[in-house]
Amino acid sequence: MLGALFSIELLAVTLWLDDAVLIGKPGLSGVIGTWGAWMLRAVVAFAVFFLTFAWLNYRPALQIAARDAAESGVNGRFLAAHAVSILGFGVLASLLYGGLPSRPISDLVALAWLMAGLSAIACGGFALIQPSFWLRIAGNTGYLWMIAFGAVILACLTGNSSRSLWPWAAGITFRLTRLLVSPFIPDLIVNPATMVIGSRRFLVEIAPECSGLEGVGLMLAFGVTWLAFFRKQCRFPQALVLLPAGATLIFLLNSVRIAALILIGNAGAERIALGGFHSQAGWIVFNLIALGFTAAAGKVPWLANVKSQDPAAASFENPTAPWLMPFVMILAAGMVSHTLTGDFEWLYPLRFFAAVATLVFFKAVYKRRNAGFDWRIDWFGPAIGIVAFIAWIGLDRFVSPGAETMPAPLAMATPFARNAWLTFRVLSAAITVPVAEELAFRGFLYRRLLSADFESVSFKKLRRFSWVAILVSSVIFGSLHGSRWFAGAVAGALYSLVLLRRGRIGDAVAAHATTNALIAVDVLAFHHWHLW
């Protein structure tokens, strides 16, 4: 709970304070304006580096320190000091960011503000884990804090200087795109000075941000994390070759993506090129390369610690698939339908059919009540579903208001097309999405958070309460609902409580389906289209 409280505090402070106000001001205020965001990133990166590598390399020492700290409880004095510091921080921030008349006063307030911030962080940390335990963690992890500090400085310098590589990388991408497109467009328009390329019908400008380095960064982050967590399954140093290989591949495929974008636009589908394809193709490429990376790291004998075996001789089972595949298929179908449509997702029914096909495929498994698939329901699920709906609508007022009219492409469509689309949209919301999401989040993720062998956590045992599992699974569930992440997390927590009551997945599905059906009624009857 304290962790959540501190996160909310930090998020509130970040959203409230805008460093741009201080940029260019003289003295310490100007330094904070210029470097404030970088300092915050450095603190976050240090925490991530330190905790990740401490967990990987010094787990026993960390576990002992955590156990001792847990026994000591929360320190009330430090918590009170944290609250006072945060209060002081807030008052000083309103003075500093509100504008101060003279430089000496401004510098003094800025210094006090920094001290209050540092005090809030330190007291918050000491409230959770007492100073002696922090010292023990530091002692047990050797020079890790220095390595983490060095890595943060290096990451900040690299991150900042990588921007200078954008124009250079964009130049390579530009030339590669030209090479790929020229066989298909004879009268290709090329302007290296403005980085504009295309045909008379469809022109694109390759901006520095489009250079391909974002994908390279994402791929390197994914690759390093994967190799660190599954290092025992990999052969080193050979496996390290996957990092430059993945980075190079994603950089080259960025040019293919832009070339495809130009060809799609030139073929007359400008809306698809600029709409769905532009936003989705980068993620499709990244996901495919990431999956290839993991396959190579785990299967290629030169890269992986695998024993040769005759795959035909062994038979396999996959207990995870019935729980996750419907949700995965909906996401994959959503990505495809987004990619192939322009400003309106006409292919939404693909998601419905993908889910139905998957549920039919696992039909026999879903009939096994002893495997956890208990579809019985009672009044409690729909009742909590109504509560979740009320919470959803109540929290919606905090989200920026959206359109209250039917999307123009849908309104202008023929009655048959419009009604068909709406039918599949409602069926998805009320049936397939609740089934798929409850199987994935409450049926699988909740139990997976309790044990690596999720099947060992029976649904009877699941009735045991775990705030951490509820919180984490609900926050992840909420994060998939965009700006309505908090409402999503609240709904997820309510569905978890429904499941915990009797340990039946059917109850959670009934609750979720009730909420979604009521939202659909609200959209169609009261024209609250922004809810979809």
Partner: protein, 54 residues
């Protein structure tokens, strides 16, 4: 263990905050799709790694 998770949660919150301070235009990797794209990747990897010998 709960405290470690609490600290991790703090880290996640800090991460969100840090990202919120410096949004960059990103046409190559669309930030609006980050949730569903990473969920798809994570889900696929979990299914693949969930396969086991009978």
């Amino acid at each position: 263990m709960r405290k470690i998770l609490a600290i991790m949660l703090l880290g996640i919150g800090s991460g969100i905050a840090a990202l919120a301070t410096g949004p960059l235009p990103s046409p190559e990797i669309d930030p609006a799709s980050v949730g569903s794209a990473l969920a798809l990747l994570a889900g696929t990897l979990l299914v693949i790694r969930g396969r086991r010998r009978k």
